[in-house]
Symmetry: D2
Subunit: 417 residues, 4 copies
Amino acid sequence: MIAATPPMGWNSWDCYGAAVDEKTVRQNAGFMAKHLKPHGWEYVVVDIQWYQPTAKNHRYESFAALTMDAYGRLLPAENRFPSAAGGKGFRPLADYVHGLGLKFGIHIMRGLPRAAAHNRLPVLGTDVGCEQAANPHSICAWNPDMYGVRAGTPEGKAYYGSIFALYAAWGVDYVKVDDIAREYPHCMKELELISEACRACGREMVLSLSPGPAPLEYAEHLKQYGNLWRITDDFWDNWVLLKAMFERAAVWCVHAGPGHWPDADMLPLGAIRQCDSADNRTRFTKEEQITMMTLWCVMRSPLMMGGDLPKCDDFTMRLLTNDAALALLRESHCAHPLYTTDESAAWTALRKDGTGEYLALFNLSDEARTLTQSVAELECGPVRSVTELWTGERSKAVPDIRAAVPTHGARLYFLRT
Amino acid sequence: MIAATPPMGWNSWDCYGAAVDEKTVRQNAGFMAKHLKPHGWEYVVVDIQWYQPTAKNHRYESFAALTMDAYGRLLPAENRFPSAAGGKGFRPLADYVHGLGLKFGIHIMRGLPRAAAHNRLPVLGTDVGCEQAANPHSICAWNPDMYGVRAGTPEGKAYYGSIFALYAAWGVDYVKVDDIAREYPHCMKELELISEACRACGREMVLSLSPGPAPLEYAEHLKQYGNLWRITDDFWDNWVLLKAMFERAAVWCVHAGPGHWPDADMLPLGAIRQCDSADNRTRFTKEEQITMMTLWCVMRSPLMMGGDLPKCDDFTMRLLTNDAALALLRESHCAHPLYTTDESAAWTALRKDGTGEYLALFNLSDEARTLTQSVAELECGPVRSVTELWTGERSKAVPDIRAAVPTHGARLYFLRT
Amino acid sequence: MIAATPPMGWNSWDCYGAAVDEKTVRQNAGFMAKHLKPHGWEYVVVDIQWYQPTAKNHRYESFAALTMDAYGRLLPAENRFPSAAGGKGFRPLADYVHGLGLKFGIHIMRGLPRAAAHNRLPVLGTDVGCEQAANPHSICAWNPDMYGVRAGTPEGKAYYGSIFALYAAWGVDYVKVDDIAREYPHCMKELELISEACRACGREMVLSLSPGPAPLEYAEHLKQYGNLWRITDDFWDNWVLLKAMFERAAVWCVHAGPGHWPDADMLPLGAIRQCDSADNRTRFTKEEQITMMTLWCVMRSPLMMGGDLPKCDDFTMRLLTNDAALALLRESHCAHPLYTTDESAAWTALRKDGTGEYLALFNLSDEARTLTQSVAELECGPVRSVTELWTGERSKAVPDIRAAVPTHGARLYFLRT
Amino acid sequence: MIAATPPMGWNSWDCYGAAVDEKTVRQNAGFMAKHLKPHGWEYVVVDIQWYQPTAKNHRYESFAALTMDAYGRLLPAENRFPSAAGGKGFRPLADYVHGLGLKFGIHIMRGLPRAAAHNRLPVLGTDVGCEQAANPHSICAWNPDMYGVRAGTPEGKAYYGSIFALYAAWGVDYVKVDDIAREYPHCMKELELISEACRACGREMVLSLSPGPAPLEYAEHLKQYGNLWRITDDFWDNWVLLKAMFERAAVWCVHAGPGHWPDADMLPLGAIRQCDSADNRTRFTKEEQITMMTLWCVMRSPLMMGGDLPKCDDFTMRLLTNDAALALLRESHCAHPLYTTDESAAWTALRKDGTGEYLALFNLSDEARTLTQSVAELECGPVRSVTELWTGERSKAVPDIRAAVPTHGARLYFLRT
């Protein structure tokens, strides 16, 4: 099964925007293999506009000359990805990542390049042009590169087949499709086309859908055609966004399971915004970082580190390597909130092996608070011991779990039963 | 803890509407004590308009002369509840029910009688009249008897205190408050007043809130001030309503827990509509009845039987006495849907003692279907045996649970791990 | 034809609220007869709650004991209207007003008194009670006295027939019905019932509908069943409200005509709020008062003076007695805006006799402005002279009308052609 | 003043769609000069896609190769407009039309050609390319040719300046801008840019805005920046559309005046749809055609004949040459509805010279009706004679105008006073 548990990895967007390059990818992959792989991290994902030679930061340049082959399939810009020279595409970079024991992912936009349509490039393996496959009215609201593909046409199917064949040949393990998850219902058929092309391409690939928020009323369609989908718009290091995630997580949690994961977006930790500004450390406090990691782990969101890995500081590394917390992604299930108010929240999840229950307490208010949770309400039976997973502190069982939690902070407990 | 598990009982509405009388209540209580109490049923609830002398069926008569005391507190109509004569109220009937080892409940409307306000009856223990406590603009949309009470006034608090003092003196164990659960946000303060009066009255009472649908965005307020609340409008024996319950259950399930239960409404089984028509058996097919009982049990909805108990047929009795299915109310937790489509649905819940997982499969389509559920997706580890709880059929563990399910039918399994 | 031109008169609400009394009405009628009648003013209207003995200001008292006859028909409170003693109702006061050569009007609420329903008073001339005619769910949102009447029932028709018979017997010339004009569509049938009772009662009465805003999409229904209807919520001496009237007037102007007049509400001029506070002069600047009078005249709104007439100062009197301006109500037609922006507006109307065109220029901005209007755009042909009607200044014709207008002020011209 | 009265002319869309050619335009112009010019018709307008070499009917071809100059300015397709050869554009055709004593108009789409942006053609007179002037996210919903222009940029202003300079050089008198009138508010700034370029180009041109419905709340902006604007989506020969026009006309009528005219769209009369089908006569009944002409004349809509002029039959010619009816466009003002119901409507307008009033009666029901209009309600004073303008029948004045009107028919009267 693809994505039997939530994927863990690194994505280039938060730190390098549209300007990621090969050297950076290799450095992050190398760091991951050495320091994070033992803790479960495995995907290295090149985000948006790897085909745009002049991208410099998080912005998009209109009418840029995108690198593509004779069939309108985007290729890595060789000035940014030298190993792609000679038509080798991402194959050499994927080989390198695989050689480290890791997996390789790329980002794509829904659709085909506008220039491919206007220049009437042929669709590979057909006798029609990209102008036949393109829908001139299907336009991404925030990126100027592509036209949507006409779903339900043979040429549309052929185009998506042609790009996934290319990705399979490159050795891609993970595809993040953008401009699609919040575009329901008008993109449903195009999503089905993409998903079918992905599954038919001959190589197992995780299919990740962006941006959010995906609409809750299409949960079953998302579960059927994607492996993960964003439940929010782009997430950044801002407390308002983090606090808002609790409500989204509460309504999406029942839809998490093997092969289909609601995605709370990347972790803006450590060294982010490397391409934009000097002020490039996460603005989250340490307590907020613990809150984020606790929520993402207990809800079993995919974990995609957004900061530049080689620049991680010790605190960040401890968050990324806490095996007891990361274990929730693989060892827990049935996560759900006990309550969510403006001031605090609590979540619980069960250990799959029946040995106990996880409890997360969150202080969402702007002052320190003591949070209390009755064990009786958890309905898990007698508790033998209680361990806080970020500190490792272990204590005896008590009828109520009480924790003094700093503002915006969290505690994550395992209750052994 | 009040309502540590979902209440189970009988309610007079489905079979007797506004016209329930003492004889009927005693008969149902007697039947329950003898046949259902061993299976966990315990509440006997007198529904709406026990204070209206001329009620005859499910309809409301405008400007009827309601029975009340000198303080505007409604009393049982003595022609319908003879034991109430002499000012004894529901005390004799409650004593009878308690004598059977059961618990006694009543229905009330939010507010105070309009006539009490227009006649300026005094509020007990105060020097003001009911016209001071009443809000002349707060009007139930479907019943003409009451005005809402002005929340935040001493006289409003005094009025609600006076009626709960009366109910405590009668020995009431369960109060179903109507015209309140879907009236958010304008009734929030009045609900708080009612809830505080209930908790301060000196007797433990379950507080049940109607009608639905209660708004999901007020879930935490409902959990704080009520013990159960309706998640739908009145539920009757109609497949469209039953099918619609799956979506509501899916969004509410994370809010179920000790002391606070989303309520899918009464069970219109057996002999209902006794006061209205000759066609008074449930119109649900047997398969639909199994589907309803399965969903209510797996989601841990309160179970309130709506049919006249002494007239139960054998099939109904088997539904109401299947201990393995009813056990989910007390022994399971963490229920949630695996998926919900227009054609089928699946739910899972865990046994609290860690010995296994429950699985419910529903055929929501209009034809027979074979439904399949991969055990791997349940993430419960190896399964040792599988038992279908309505039939008792036991089978060996297999990687996929496959079931041929009739149209509108369900299967409820326990998977021992 | 009833209301062949827009009615002009005085209404007690702005100055006396719910507490108007006979002495005040007589004083205002006397003043009108002496000073305003020659300028076209003729209606004297007693506003809301003349049947409430304890009303003191603009507020409503819940559950007050309203004066009514044995048939649930409201009567003047005798402590406030002494001449009504002995069951004579408003007949003596109407006689007095008629004796002055004026016309007499009253305000009523849609519906029948709640107390009449709860006390089951009989409907005159029928064998049913008011509780049969009342709709217990039809409740005014802002006044606690009445229940709506069940439209489409014989008893509902009988009740409205009974009150209009009473008003005819009293000599009422004008009825302002409240809680109806913005209540479309649910009050349509009740409005038809009222209108039919009014037209069948044997006496000509103007039918005025409140409060606003009446919904534009029901314009034709309003024209068919009423003589005037409010196009705004209550209008007071506040620039924001006055400025907002321009947009409403613009969409309603095409619906003005003999027998049916969009109503911009009463004129809060001079001595208003006599019952509430010491600060009881209009807060409108003189320029704003001119703007209001200009708009009301050019759009041909009914003119109902709200201030206490005997306390009128000279400036107010000049506004109320400017025959050239008031003449627009009778002598102009085809009024419509030339433009309406956030900063200024212009309106035009034609003299019915074909001798010229009216032009109103409004400075809606917060600073003095020079406003210009091309005569060519008016399409009225050559202009021979131009007269400003508030000042009487006459000038020669020019291709452009240019006026220096103070902030919030207006100019009203007659262009003779 | 441009468009001092509503423009009258012919437009190629209804009969030739996107496939109009030079020969057709010359034939229609010739016919107009000979037969219609004496009745006030003067504009000859070439509608959409004169720059598309392969257009064949009313449909648009995606990614077609549009004819344009080196600066991204669209030019007539020479295969369809031979006189444009050699870079002469529409100058020869405009000269021909002018030679007939008529005026020449063209249609344009908001924006610049997508291909001009993707091919980075320079903007005339600047050192930037069309890709700088284009907004890649501003996309017409129904036509694939253009990108919107970035309002507020020097290059956007330069581009629009460059095309209006070209149109001035060609001798264009009328520009119909499409994809703009219903696109408020996001196209407001682009409309201002277009309007300013039009007024600055050195030649007087009528500016017509399409498609509708333009939003009423932007009426003043439309009046300021356009000369006419569509108040409906495309109008065709369908009774439902014609009937719906009455409500739109009713709310827009107050905004009609010299230089600014609400536009009810072209007249689908006679030989329409010549490019699409054999069934190419208007489907309107004769009565419906009279209704349409009556409404358009009384509301003073621009009149643009949609049918192929040389193929006009006698009935159509009589509609187009009835000077008494057409005179309303120039000789009436102050038009407005008296009423509009589902079954009938009446409109009135005044003769500018003060000699009388126009009255239009419409039977909107599906059966013959006798319609009556009281003259007193018109407030025009005594009437001396009454003439029906379509038939020329004259009658004496009476207090009520009564007319037996066929289903979907109309009568148009002049009442001399």
